[in-house]
Amino acid sequence: MHYEQLGVTEGDFYNRNFEKGAREDTMILNLGPQHPATHGVLRVIVELDGEYVIRAEPVLGYLHRMHEKMGEVKTLSQFIPNTGRIDYGHALGWNWAFVGAVERLAGFEVPERAQYIRVITTEINRITSHLLWWGAFTLDLGAITPIMYAFDDREHLLDILQMPTGSRLTHSSFRIGGVCTDLSEKFIETVRDFIPKMRERLPMYRDLVTDNVILRKRLEGVGVMDADMCRRYGVTGPVARGSGLAYDVRQAEHFPIYEGLDWQVAVRTEGDSMARYLVRMDEMEQSLNIIEQALAALPAGPVLMKNAPKVLWKAPKGESYFAVEGARGKIGVHLVSNGGEFAYKVKLRSPCFSNLSAYAEAARGTILADAVAILGSLDLVIPEIDR
């Protein structure tokens, strides 16, 4: 912007901006944009006093694609593939948030079977997302092996998820008014076989990794966020639930299918990295419960409503906000329409964006290795932060 006004010549704009508040005897270190701990192109500038982090400032925008603008120049149904690419970890959560916002705006009734399919696939997607996080997070802590085990399970799940959605990563199978394909018999059978297998794997993960003394010493008491801090920064999802806030959109906003199923919101009160870790591990178990019950209760019927909108369908005037519990927190889509085939305004509320904004405060005063552990415990997906 105004390079000259800052009066410094080295480093880029953000470095110079950061250095203005730095002490004389400290070292400014750029973690990223290419750094193994950031799992993508996030950049965190840290001010180090020896190994201690005095200040940290995330620098965003390396993966910015301006999805909100694309939402205004594509018709509503054309925008669905975009939503799958915002968060590659939990693509179906974003799918659901967007089509949900459109359905709410238009007042559409989604067929019951489609709702069940959405629940099942979203929950499978949530497990794959948590497995991805688990592997990457243990990698941050220096344990190289768990990611291989996590990906073993994740590959099976992606194979399964490929059947109804047609893709392995950037799913975009939800449609306005339903889903694009019905569940096949083979899918249902494979999932039924997989659930007990996964239930055996989770205790093994606990024994091998979670109960490891080094891992516990690395995570317990590290990066404590209290409930008030979560509120000030708008932190949601497993991070907030690790701080004792029993807030889950699936329960809070009375999602129709989830209401009838037997599952619990995983909550821990410690607020440290270990609590966030355990919340996600518990959530995988809860997701298995949800999938199992939803499969058992799967009703027959159509998967897409009659007269589902075509490409050039015009949404009614008005606004709607639809939130979904994503793997990383509250995914929100705020849609404003002026009655055209394009949205007048699409606001994408990304959970990682808010969760990461709390990072600077959580990392202050920690040792560098802890700062990396905290960054990992937030479960960041960089494309979702930058959108």
Binding site: G61, Y233, A252, K317, Y321, K345, R349
Partner: protein, 175 residues
């Protein structure tokens, strides 16, 4: 709930919405000077900031703040209007630190200045970029009364005409 919480604040327009139809529980229009007191009240009532964005309309930029509550969920939308010529709003980052990034993002996208933001540098866009991608041209802009469906407000200031259609306004003006 919100109408009693905002009892001390001179809201311009307050409407209770149906969460099943819009996803909002409350929609509140505020004057710029009332934004910070209202946000402080929400903070004391344990609300958390969901997001912050703006809508580019004919009347100006309508900044929208979404809040939600952990224990008794119900989304509150605060809306504050600022002009196209000198878009400026007070920053709420002193109350909700998380708003800092949302405000910087809104500055990037719309060019709205948030006075009091602790670190007002570009967040998502390049530092030397001068365009604001979500700004609309005059032809693309719609009227606010066109975007927001008419509702029965619980409270409304007498001079609040943002959501009254122009035709109706002209009618009553004539009358």
């Amino acid at each position: 709930m919100i109408d009693s919480l905002f009892g001390t604040i001179k809201v311009q327009y307050l409407v209770k919405c149906d969460p099943a139809k819009t996803g909002l529980a409350w929609s509140v229009f505020l004057a710029q000077s009332d934004l910070l007191p209202a946000v402080k009240l929400l903070y004391r009532a344990n609300y958390f900031l969901e997001d912050l964005t703006a809508i580019d309309a004919k009347e100006g930029y309508l900044a929208v703040y979404h809040f939600d509550h952990i224990d008794s969920p119900g989304r509150v939308a605060l809306r504050v209007l600022t002009s196209h010529e000198a878009p400026e709003l007070p920053s709420i980052a002193s109350v909700y630190q998380g708003a800092e990034w949302h405000e910087r993002e809104t500055t990037d996208f719309y060019g709205i200045t948030f006075t009091g933001n602790p670190n007002p540098v570009p967040l998502l866009l390049a530092p030397d970029m001068t365009e604001h991608p979500l700004q609309k041209t005059e032809a693309q802009r719609a009227f606010l009364w066109d975007l927001f469906p008419p509702a029965e407000p619980l409270r409304a200031a007498a001079d609040f005409t943002l959501l009254t259609p122009a035709a109706k306004l002209a009618e009553t003006g004539e009358a």
